[in-house]
C-alpha cells in the first residue's frame, strides 16, 4: 500500500488509525505530542468520526480511554513519560480489568532530558503493572507495533504499553502502510465483574493475571520483535540491545570482523530462554540499552555468576543521557572517526529562553519588582515556558517540581513561614493539576498569591489548544472559593507595568488566597493570527 514520510509519533498515529482506532485521548508533552496532533489532522481531512482530544491531564485521558474499551471500541492514550506518573493510578488499576476493546498506552520517554525533568524509563511501569511493553526501533516498527499492540490488547485483555523515546518520536522516515482494519462497533461489555475493582473481585482478577504469565512468556520467546542471532565462532562476547541502541549497534557491527551473538529485546516480558541461550554462547555480555539498566539488572541479580555482564551498572555504558552511535562504537572497541581540524574556540552556551515579546517576560518583570521589596520572598513555579524564568535576566523563580506544584508548594512554603509566597503557573498547567492545590490552600486559609500566566495556549509543546478558554479561568478560580475581590486580571505589557506592579503588591499583602491572572496571548498565537490575516 501507500508510502508516507512520517515522524515516529505520526507512524504510531497512522498505525492506530489502520488498526481501527475509534478514540484517542492525551495530554501534550514532548516528545509525545505529535501523535494526537496527527490524529486531529486526520479527523479534519479524512475521517470526521474519529475522536482525538486533549484532556486536562493524563489521568483523565487514561480513564476516559478505559471506558471506551469497556464499550468495546479501540482507544489510544498518549503522554510523555512523566505524564504516566499522573496516570499511574488509573493505569495500574486497569490491569486487573478484562480489557474489551483494544487499549494502547503510547508513552514517550525522554532520555537525555531534551525537554523533561527526568529520564525515567516506562518499561518499569509495564513490569510493575505486569503487562506487555513494546518498544519500536524504527518508524516502520512504530507503525506495525501499534497495530500489533491493539491486537494483543484484545486477545489477552490487557492494556498494552508502547514505549517510545525522543529519537524515534521526532525522527522522520518512510513507512509502508498495511491494510486497514474496520473500527469496532459499539459493543458494551456486559460482565460488571470485569470492571469493578472491589477487593474480592480484584483478588480473582490478579490471580487470573498471574496465571497468564506463561502465555506472555511464550509470545515473547517466539516474537520476531526479540530477534536472536547466534555466532558459534565468537565465544568471547555477546550483545543485548534494547530500543534505538539496536540501530547504533548495527552500524558498528558492520566493522566487527567476528560478529558477536546478538539479542535485541523489544517485546516485554523479556524472553528468558533466549537470554539464557545467548548467555551460554559467550563469556561476556555487553548490554546496550536506552533508558535505565532494566534488562541489565534482570540479568545480573546479586549473586556471583559465570557470565560477565557489562553495561551501565559498571560504567561500561554511561548511565545518564541517551545512547549514541559513539557510545556504541566505544563499547564495541571501535576507534572514533577522524574529525575535521579546526582552530580552538571557546564556545558560549545558548540555552532556550523566553521569546522576544513574550508576555511572561513582562509578568516576571512586574513580579520581580515587588519581590525585591521583601527579604525572603518565595516564588514557586511550574512546568511550561515560564520555567525559563529561572535564567537571567529574570532569575525569578525558586522551584519547579512537576505539573501543578507551583500551587501546592506555595502553600507549603507559606505555612512554613514564607512571605510572600507566590505560585506561578500557566493556564494549561493550572487546569492539569493546579486546581486541586488551590482548593487545598483555600481550605487551609493560607496567605498565598497565585499568578496564573494565561497565554491562552499550551505553548511549550507547540501550540495546542487549552481545554478552557481564557474567559473561563477567572470563573473557575472564583468557583473554587477565592474571594472575587482578590481575583485580579492584569495585561502583561510594558505600558501597564506600573499598574501591574501595584496589583501584585496589593495582592501579596492580602491576608488570604489571592489570584492574579496575567492575560495576554502567546506571541506565536498573535503571529499566526496576523499571518492568516
Amino acid at each position: 500500500m501507500s508510502e508516507l514520510v512520517l515522524l515516529g509519533d505520526e507512524a504510531v498515529a497512522q498505525g492506530a488509525i489502520d488498526a481501527g482506532l475509534s478514540i484517542a485521548y492525551g495530554y501534550p508533552g514532548t516528545p509525545s505530542t505529535e501523535i494526537v496532533e496527527y490524529l486531529q489532522d486526520w479527523k479534519r481531512k479524512e475521517d470526521n468520526s474519529l475522536i482525538a482530544s486533549w484532556c486536562s491531564n493524563e489521568k483523565t485521558a487514561y480513564e476516559a480511554a478505559v471506558a471506551v474499551s469497556m464499550m468495546g471500541k479501540r482507544a489510544l492514550v498518549t503522554m510523555k513519560h512523566v505524564g504516566l506518573n499522573v496516570a499511574a493510578d488509573a493505569f495500574m488499576n486497569s490491569i486487573g480489568y478484562t480489557i474489551h476493546g483494544g487499549l494502547v498506552l503510547a508513552v514517550a520517554d525522554d532520555p537525555g532530558m531534551h525537554s523533561s525533568q527526568n529520564e525515567q524509563d516506562s518499561r518499569y511501569y509495564a513490569d510493575f503493572a505486569r503487562t506487555i511493553c513494546l518498544e519500536p526501533r524504527n518508524q516502520q516498527e512504530a507503525y506495525e507495533m501499534t497495530r500489533d499492540a491493539f491486537e494483543l490488547s484484545e486477545k489477552l485483555h490487557l492494556p498494552v504499553l508502547l514505549k517510545l523515546t525522543t529519537r524515534i518520536s521526532h525522527s522522520r522516515a518512510v513507512i509502508k502502510r498495511g491494510d486497514v482494519r474496520p473500527k469496532n462497533e459499539f459493543n458494551p461489555s456486559k460482565d460488571r465483574s470485569h470492571w469493578t475493582n472491589l477487593p474480592f473481585l480484584s483478588r480473582q482478577n490478579y490471580e487470573d493475571l498471574w496465571q497468564q504469565r506463561p502465555v506472555l512468556a511464550e509470545i515473547s520467546e517466539s516474537s520476531d520483535y526479540n530477534p536472536l542471532s547466534i555466532n558459534d565462532r565468537n565465544k568471547e562476547v555477546a550483545v543485548i540491545t534494547t530500543g534505538l541502541a539496536y540501530n547504533y549497534y548495527k552500524e558498528a557491527e558492520k566493522e566487527l570482523e567476528n560478529k558477536p551473538s546478538h539479542l535485541h529485546i523489544s517485546f516485554y516480558p523479556m524472553p528468558e530462554d533466549k537470554i539464557r541461550k545467548l548467555a551460554g554462547s559467550a563469556a561476556r555480555i555487553i548490554v546496550i540499552e536506552e533508558g535505565y539498566p532494566f534488562v541489565e539488572r534482570f540479568l545480573k541479580g546479586i549473586l556471583p555468576q559465570a557470565v560477565q555482564v557489562d553495561g551501565k551498572l559498571n560504567d561500561v555504558i554511561p548511565h545518564l543521557g541517551e545512547i549514541t552511535p559513539d557510545i556504541c562504537r566505544k563499547a564495541m572497541g571501535l576507534a572514533s572517526f577522524e574529525k575535521a581540524e579546526v582552530k580552538a574556540f571557546d564556545m558560549p552556551g545558548r540555552p532556550p529562553q523566553l521569546c522576544k515579546g513574550c508576555p511572561h517576560t513582562d509578568s516576571y518583570k512586574a513580579l520581580n519588582e515587588v519581590m525585591a521589596e521583601y527579604e525572603n520572598p518565595v516564588v514557586t513555579s511550574d512546568i511550561g515556558c515560564y520555567t525559563l524564568g529561572y535564567f537571567a535576566p529574570h532569575n525569578a523563580i525558586h522551584s519547579c517540581l512537576d505539573m501543578g506544584a507551583a500551587v501546592t508548594m506555595a502553600r507549603g512554603a507559606a505555612e512554613a513561614g514564607a512571605h510572600p509566597a507566590v505560585g506561578v503557573i500557566g493556564d494549561s498547567t493550572f487546569m492539569h493539576t493546579g486546581i486541586q492545590g488551590l482548593v487545598d490552600m483555600l481550605s487551609a486559609g493560607n496567605r498565598v498569591t497565585l499568578m496564573i500566566l494565561d497565554n491562552s495556549i499550551t505553548a511549550m509543546t507547540g501550540m495546542q489548544r487549552t481545554i478552557v478558554e481564557s474567559s473561563g479561568i477567572p470563573e473557575i478560580v472564583k468557583g473554587c472559593g477565592v474571594d472575587p475581590a482578590h481575583v485580579r486580571t492584569i495585561v502583561p505589557l510594558p505600558k501597564y507595568h506600573e499598574e501591574n506592579v501595584k496589583v501584585i503588591r496589593e495582592e501579596v499583602e492580602y491576608d488570604g488566597v489571592s489570584v492574579i491572572i496575567a492575560q495576554r496571548a502567546c506571541i506565536h498565537v498573535v503571529k499566526a493570527k496576523y499571518a492568516k490575516g
Partner: protein, 188 residues
C-alpha cells in the same frame, strides 16, 4: 552511498524547513532519508540541531557519530561551530554569515569567521542580501540550500522540482522567489 548532514541554528530560524527541502529532493531521486529533529523546549531561542542521513542503502541509525558528517549546514555562524565535532576530516561547512545574537557573550564576529575559515573550503553565505535580491528576506533558508546544493549528491533540477513541490500551495510568487533564492545561493 551514504551522505550525512548536521543541520543547526537557533530555534525559530527555520532549520526544519531547510531539512524538508533536502529530504524532498533526496526522495525524488529515490534515495532513503532519515531525519532526527528537535522539538519542544530547545526550540525557544536555544541552539537546535537536526541530523539528516541520505543513502542508497538501508539506514539503521537516525543519529551519527562524531567525525561522520559530510556536511554541517548552519543558519548562522556560531552554531556552525557548536557541533563541529561531527564534521569528518575533509567535510564541508556551509553557514549563513549573519550572526543571530540573543546571548550576552556572543563572540567577536571576525574571530568567529576566522575559526570557520580554518576549515578548508568553508562557505560563508550572505544569505540575507541574496534573499532580498531574490525578492524576500524570508527566503534566506533557500539561499542556504542553494549553496549547499553545490556539494550535495542531489541534482539541481531535482531541487527546483522539490521547491515547486513544497511551495506550490503558497502560490506562484512564493515558488518563484524561492527558486530564485536557491539559484542565487547556488551561484554564490
Amino acid at each position: 552511498m551514504t551522505y550525512n548532514i548536521v543541520l543547526c541554528g537557533v530555534g525559530g530560524q527555520g532549520v526544519l524547513s531547510v531539512a524538508a527541502i533536502i529530504a524532498r529532493g533526496a526522495m525524488m531521486e529515490g534515495l532513503q532519508v532519515k531525519q532526527a529533529e528537535v522539538h519542544g523546549m530547545s526550540q525557544r531561542g536555544g541552539a537546535v540541531i537536526a541530523t539528516m542521513r541520505i543513502s542508497s542503502e538501508e539506514i539503521f541509525s537516525d543519529l551519527i557519530s562524531e567525525g561522520q558528517a559530510d556536511m554541517i549546514l548552519s543558519m548562522e555562524p556560531l552554531e556552525s561551530i557548536r557541533h563541529i565535532a561531527y564534521l569528518k576530516k575533509g567535510g564541508q561547512l556551509v553557514t549563513g554569515k549573519d550572526p543571530f545574537i540573543n546571548i550576552p557573550d556572543y563572540p567577536d564576529r571576525e574571530e568567529l569567521y576566522s575559526v570557520i575559515n580554518s576549515i578548508e573550503g568553508s562557505m560563508l553565505i550572505d544569505t540575507k542580501n541574496l534573499a532580498v535580491e531574490a525578492g524576500s528576506q524570508r527566503a534566506q533558508n533557500m539561499v542556504l540550500v542553494g549553496s549547499a546544493s553545490k556539494v550535495l549528491p542531489i541534482k539541481e533540477d531535482t531541487f527546483l522540482g522539490a521547491i515547486e513541490n513544497v511551495f506550490t500551495r503558497k502560490g506562484e510568487d512564493i515558488v518563484t522567489i524561492n527558486k530564485k533564492a536557491f539559484v542565487l545561493g547556488r551561484n554564490s
